[in-house]
Symmetry: C2
Subunit: 497 residues, 2 copies
Amino acid sequence: MISENAAMNELLAFQRGTEALSSIAERLSWDQETVMPRGAVEQRSEEMAAIEAVLHERRTDPRIGEWLELAVPQTESEERIVALIARDFGRANAIPAELATEIARQTSLGQGIWAAARANEAPQDFLPTLDQILVLKQDQGHALVRAGFGSDPYDALLDDYEPGTTQAEIAALFDAMRPRLVALREEILGAPDQPEALEGRFAQETQMRLARACATAFGYDWSRGRMDIAVHPFSSGRWQDSRITTRIVETDPFNCIYSTIHEVGHSSYELGIDPDHAFTPLGRGVSMGVHESQSRIYENQLGRSRAFTGWLFARMTDMTGGLSVPDADAFYRTVNRVTPGFIRTESDEVQYNLHIMMRFDLERDLISGRLSTDNLEEAWNTRFQRDFGVAVDRPSNGVLQDVHWSVGLFGYFPTYALGNVYAGALNAALRTAVPDLDDSLQDGDATPATEWLREKLQRHGGLYEPRDLVERATGRPVTPEPLLAYLEEKFAGIYGL
Amino acid sequence: MISENAAMNELLAFQRGTEALSSIAERLSWDQETVMPRGAVEQRSEEMAAIEAVLHERRTDPRIGEWLELAVPQTESEERIVALIARDFGRANAIPAELATEIARQTSLGQGIWAAARANEAPQDFLPTLDQILVLKQDQGHALVRAGFGSDPYDALLDDYEPGTTQAEIAALFDAMRPRLVALREEILGAPDQPEALEGRFAQETQMRLARACATAFGYDWSRGRMDIAVHPFSSGRWQDSRITTRIVETDPFNCIYSTIHEVGHSSYELGIDPDHAFTPLGRGVSMGVHESQSRIYENQLGRSRAFTGWLFARMTDMTGGLSVPDADAFYRTVNRVTPGFIRTESDEVQYNLHIMMRFDLERDLISGRLSTDNLEEAWNTRFQRDFGVAVDRPSNGVLQDVHWSVGLFGYFPTYALGNVYAGALNAALRTAVPDLDDSLQDGDATPATEWLREKLQRHGGLYEPRDLVERATGRPVTPEPLLAYLEEKFAGIYGL
C-alpha cells in the first residue's frame, strides 16, 4: 500500500511525463506544418499514431485511478491539478476503446475527403463521411453523459474545449448579440462613405519584416519562440518554446500582419504562464475561449486600434516607400473595412460572430439529431441568406468552407465567439486600468497591455475555470455588453453612423 | 496462450511503435540543434527524458521475451528482425536499471563539464567526471560480458556501434595501416612542392548555394530531406525524412561543401534502404562503420576526386567570379592539402586514421584499467608526439578536443576508421563496376555511384551483419589494402612523390 504522499508524488511525476510527451506530439505537428519534407507524410502519420497511442495509454492508465483515490493535495494548485487530472481520466475512460479508435480512424480520413470535396465543389463526396463522424461524435457525447459529464451530448463535447460552459449559457450570450450585430452590419454596409482597400503588391521579405516588428511590438519573446510560414497560421507550444507561424499573400499584407499579431496573442498566453505550472495541467491555456480572447484582444482591440494602426501606417510607409491610402486616418478605416463575404476566416470584427452563431446552431442540431447531414447544405444556405442577406454561390463558400467537422470538432466553433466576448470584457477593464495605453500603442509598444494581461490572466494558466478566470481579471460578470459597445462605438466612428 | 503467429505479429507491431518513437526522439534532437529557440533548453531536456523513459520501458518490456519465445519467423527478413530484437532486448536487460539510470545521468552532465573544461584549458576540471563515467562504462561492459555479449568489456561496448566486430580484428587492421600511413604522412609533409591554400571570403548565401548544388550532384532527394545550419553538422532521420545540416566558415568554403557531401552520404544510406524495412530494425543503417563508409566515400573518394573537383572548380569560379587558385589542377591539390595539425575533425584523408588509432588504443587501455584517467593526458601527449612528430600545445588541442568520452562513447572512435577501410574497399569495387564514373563526376553527377551503392549496399539496411554486407557488396574479404593503395597513389600524384 502506498502512502498518501507517495500517491500524490507518483501522480505528479506520471503527469509530468504525460505533459512532456504531449508537448512532443505538438512539436511534431509544428514540424509537419512548417519544415517537414513533403515526401514524409506516411512516416509522420505513423509517428503521430505511435505517440498518440502512448498518450492514450497513459491517460487511461489504471494507476491514475489508484493514485487519485489516495492522493492528498496540500495546496490550492495541487487541488486544482488533481481535479483536472481526475476530469481528464474520467473523460478518457468514459469512451470505450473501440469508439476512441474508430473516431481517431474516421477523423484522420475525414480531412482528406473534405479537402477533395471542397476542391471539387462536391458536398455529396463528403457528407456520407461527415455522417459517419457525426454518429461517432453522438456516441461519444452519450458515453460522456452516461459517465456524468454533462446532461446533454453537445454539452459533453463542448466541455472538451470550454470546460464548465454549457450551450444554454452560450445560446443566451449569442441571442443577446445577434440582433445588434445584424443591425450594425446592415448600417455599415449601407453607409455612403466606404473605406478604400489597400492597393499594391508587398514582397515576402517586407511582409516578414513588418510581421517581426509587430510581434516585437507586442512583446513576443524571441528567445522562447520563432516565426515560420505555414499554409494556415497557428501557434504551437508553451513554457520555454511557443512558436508562431504566419502566411504571405502578396496583395494583402494585413493577412500576414494580423495573423502574426493573433498568434502572438496565443503564444504570449502560453509563455506568460507561471513557470511553476510547467508540465502540470495548469501549465497551459485553460480553454479555447480564453485562448481566443488573448489572440483576439491582441489582434483586434489593440492591433486594429487607431493608436496602433497609426504606428503601423508609419512603419509600412517607411518600408514600402508609400502606400495607396493617403494618411493614418484613412489607413485605420482601411484596416477595419467591412465588406460582404462568405468566408468566416476572412471576415471582420463585426461579421465574424455571425458566422460562428450559425455554425453553433447547425452543429447543435446535428448532434441532437434535429438536423441530418442530408439537409445540412440547405440549412446552411437558408441561414446564411437570413443573417447575411446573400445567397451562397458555391459549396466551398458555404457548407464546405471549414475543416472543423471533418476532423470531429463539434463544440469547438462557439469558443471563437466566446473568445471575442471575453476579449471585449478584458479590453474594457484593461482600458480602465491602463488609461494611457494608446500613448504606448501609437509608439508601437503594446507591452503595457501584455503586462496587464499577464498579471491578471495569463500567468494563472489552468488554475481557475475559464469564466471564473475572466471574471477575476475584469472584476465583473461576463456579459457581451462590453464587446457590443466597443464594436458599435468603433464602427460608428469609422463609418460615420 | 497466444499462438506463434500472433506472437510474431504482436512483436512486429510493438517494434513498429518503438521504431516510430525512436524516430521521434531523433527528430527532437534535430529540432534542438537547428531551429529550437535558445531559451528552451530545460524544457527540451525534460521532453527528451520523457521519451527516453518510454523507449527504455519498451526496450525492456517483459512481453518481448514472451513473444520471442513463441514467435516463428517465416522469411529471411523476419529471422533477422527477430535476431536483432533479441539482441537489443538481451543487451537492454543485461544492464541493471540503477546502472542505466546512473549512466544516463552522468553522461548528460558530462558534456557540459567537458565543454567548460575545454574552454578553460583545464583538464583537471573534467577528469574526475570522466573517471566516474569510465567506471560506469566498465560496469556496463562487465554486465554485458556476464550476460554473454562478448568476452571482454571493450568488445561488449564496441558491439553497440559495430555489431559483430572485435577489438582484435580492428587492432589487426590498424596495425597493418599505421606504418604505411605514418610513412606517407612524412613523405607528403617533406615534399618540396606544397599545394596552396584557398584565399578569400565566401558569403553564407554563396556557400549555401554551392552546398545545395553539391547535394543535388550526389542525388540527395530534396522531397525527403532538407538542409539547415548547425554548429556541428549531422544528418538525422530515415525512410521518408532524412535531413542534413552544414556549417558556414566564411574563410573556408570547403568546410561547408565537404560537410554537406559527407552528410549527404549518411542520408543517402538511410533514404536508400528498402521501404519494406521501414519501422523494423532493418530500416536503418546497420552500423556506425558502414554508415561512415557511405559518408566517407561520398566526401573523399568521390567528392575530393580530380573529376568532381574539376566540376566544383568551375561552379565556384562561376559563383564567385574567380578563385585564388589558377586552374582545376591546382584546385584539386588545394582541396586535398595535407598540413600538420592537432585536431581530428580538421584533418585530411591521410592523417585522419592516425588520430583514430591513438584514441582506439587509449580508450581500450582506459576500459581495461591499464590506463587511469590521471595519466590520460600524459599518455595522449606522448602518443601524439610519436605519431605526429609534434608536441601538443594545449589541452583543447589534445586530450580535451573530442566530446565522445564525456558522453560515454567508448568503442565509438574505431568505427570512423573502419568506415574509411570499408569506403576504400567499396571504392575499388565501384570503380571496377562503373569504369566511366569519372565522366559523370566531371559533369557534377555522382548519381551512378549512388545507384551502385544503393543496389549493392544501402537498400539492405540492417539485413546483414556489417562486414558481411561490405563483403557481399565488394565480392571479397575486407582488408585495408584498397584504402592504402588508393591513398598512396592519390597523394603520390598530388605531391609528386
